[in-house]
């Protein structure tokens, strides 16, 4: 492999890896939020994300298409509606599937199973509904504005949507961090996360805070879904699964429960995936193809967790006695 080739490929590889990583990170934020408060992996998060992506695509295709609004405003509107629908859905899931289990002191494994149930239910429900109106693989409508090339190096460029994803993901992180550290709600969320019993004794309505955590996580998933559909141009009822899994990985890698950790974990995973996918085939003269990148990415994940089980930015949790 010549040095020249590396130099030529590196900028676009890093840019693509960063964008992919930011997409993972935006999904990972939802996992991390709920885990931080409840110690529960909300596996239905990937499907809530998928529903958000559908809502955004449908809205852009059937309501906003041909409107004189600037594409960015159209996208923002789609994001807001997608976030609202996903938030409502996440709240509903909390109400019907998680709260009853919490109340009845079900074993820790039970919410995990209801989450998988909700996932499968949402996949097939969306498939059914979309099939009624034709085909369920929905393409993102053609919006040339987001494909305008922005120069990266003299002979490399990234499309406008990369910049959009960068800005939105950054805003999501900053907004979430501000909410958690500087607002009353954030204080309550942190209190519930630290000790649910003590928080309730201090007059915090724990159920309400848990519900709000889910709602915020859902809203984030809706925005992430919109970005994902924008980047990859297609959504189907099963398109939540793989990104969901990768985002969960990113959350664990960064230190689950930590908001900056989710961001760092996502970006690291995206970069690793893209670098391995691009350079390992070249290094091995195509003997190991791009198709094996996930094996390496997850292999590195296992190594990191062996040496730092709390993840990159996670703090060791102390058992409450």
């Amino acid at each position: 492999m010549s040095f020249q080739l590396v130099l030529e490929l590196l900028p676009s590889t890093l840019a693509d890896g960063l964008i992919l990583g930011l997409l993972y990170a935006t999904i990972a934020l939802g996992y991390t939020m709920v885990y931080g408060v409840l110690g529960l992996i909300n596996f239905a998060h990937s499907e809530i994300f998928m529903v958000g992506a559908f809502v955004a695509v449908e809205l852009l295709t059937y309501v906003l298409a041909g409107s004189p609004l600037h594409p960015v405003i159209q996208l923002v509107l789609a994001m807001i509606v997608a976030a609202a629908v996903s938030a409502a859905l996440a709240g509903l899931a909390e109400r019907v599937a998680y709260r009853p289990l919490r109340r009845s002191n079900a074993p820790k494994l039970a919410p995990l199973i209801t989450a998988i149930g909700i996932s499968l239910f949402l996949q097939d429900a969306v498939r059914f509904v979309e099939s009624l109106f034709g085909q369920f693989i929905r393409p993102f409508p053609s919006m040339p504005f987001f494909d305008i090339p922005l120069p990266l190096t003299p002979n490399d460029s990234v499309p406008m949507k990369s910049l959009v994803i960068l800005i939105v993901a950054g805003a999501m992180l900053a907004g979430l961090r501000y909410t958690v550290t500087h607002t009353r709600l954030g204080k309550a969320i942190r209190a519930v996360a630290t000790d649910r019993m003590a928080a309730s004794l201090m007059g915090i309505d724990v159920n309400r805070i848990v519900m709000l955590t889910f709602v915020i996580g859902g809203a984030l998933a809706g925005v992430a879904g919109t970005l994902y559909a924008l980047q990859f141009g297609r959504v189907d009822p099963f398109s939540g699964f793989i990104p969901g899994l990768k985002a969960f990985t990113a959350a664990v890698l960064g230190g689950i429960g930590s908001i900056p950790g989710a961001m760092v974990g996502g970006i690291v995973l995206g970069l690793i995936e893209m670098l391995i996918g691009t350079f390992v085939p070249i290094l091995t003269n195509n003997a190991i193809g791009t198709e094996y990148k996930d094996i390496f990415a997850f292999g590195i994940l296992i190594l990191i967790l062996i040496f730092k089980p709390t993840g990159l930015l996670g703090r060791p949790s102390t058992e409450k006695v």
Binding site: P144, R234, T290
Partner: protein, 394 residues
Amino acid sequence: MTLMKTLAAATTGLMLLSCAATAQDKGAIKIVTQSPLSGQQSVAGEGIMLGAQLAVAQFAKQLTDMGFQLSLQPEDDQATPNVGVANANRILNDPAVLGVVGHYNSGVAIPSSEVYAKDNLAMVSPANTNPAITDRETTRAIANRICGRDDVQGPAGANFATDTLKAKKVYIINDKSAYGSGIAQTFEAAIRKSGANVILSTGMDQNETDFSSILNRARVDQPDLVYYGGTYPQGGLIIKQMRQKGLKAAFLGGDGLDSGDLQKIAGPENMTNAYFTTTALPLSQMPAAAAFAQAYKAKFNKDPEVYSAYGYDSARVVIEAIVAAAKAKGGAMPSRAAVAAAVREVKFDGVTGPVAFNNRGDIASAKYVVIEAGKSADANKIVKVIDVAAPGGS
């Protein structure tokens, strides 16, 4: 003890009686369709199922007149081999099933047909182009197809790539399925023979949505052609991502790309210099298509999908074979083996063209079409139509 004996005798008597009752109306006959009815590929899979349903509605009379009740049982193979095989085992145990129309994916059809072969249950495939479908000895007696083969389709694509597109530097990507890797291999072998330089040949998982690792390299290598062995949900994304990365190379693939959704996924503005080969003629090229499309639309309120007409003709083959086998038995319920043998003798002019099989179960003469994909499926242009006799067999 005597009570038990009486009971046993009574049950046996009842069973005999009920058998006699069904024998009078000669019993039920089922045709099963197996195709993906859920998941990404269900658009094509449902098209096959509905096509077969239309054939059953139109041709059932031949069997009802003889005293049988014919019905269609749709099964969902989910484009997944183990689901297809599980379904196959289940339907094999239902004696009323005399024929299978399926599958959509070669990777599902190959293991499933091994199950059908255990009891000589005939399979007529509307869409499986992998050579192994009819090449294996174990399923020789029962596996048939009314479409072309990849070992002709791949080389036909390679031929088009070198002759018409003048491709010298080629990238080949496949989706690691039996269909995708099979057609990519035959394409690669043929294009290497013609002297073109294959710079990269790699697999990519069927669920992958991000092809930038490969396409970034393509920007440095600047191939003239990217060949994709796989289906439209990924194919469309590759076209889109190629054009967004500023790659002007031609894009070529097999019949898995043949869907109206290819353009929607790729984006109409990206559909330049994109081609696919297919064994499924567009409806506009089929002699009896107008009447078929009309009947289909009237019954299901949907336009036929690419493989609907092939599903229709496949089901018709099975029905004709059952009728022939039943007639040969003097109007009695035919055996599965007899139906499987009768399939090879079936001859008619179907919607998709003349239907007749060689002794391997391949359609005697198949058409291979090269299509230039337009901005929408309606704008697709036929570049070439070639009639090729099935290789091997007689």
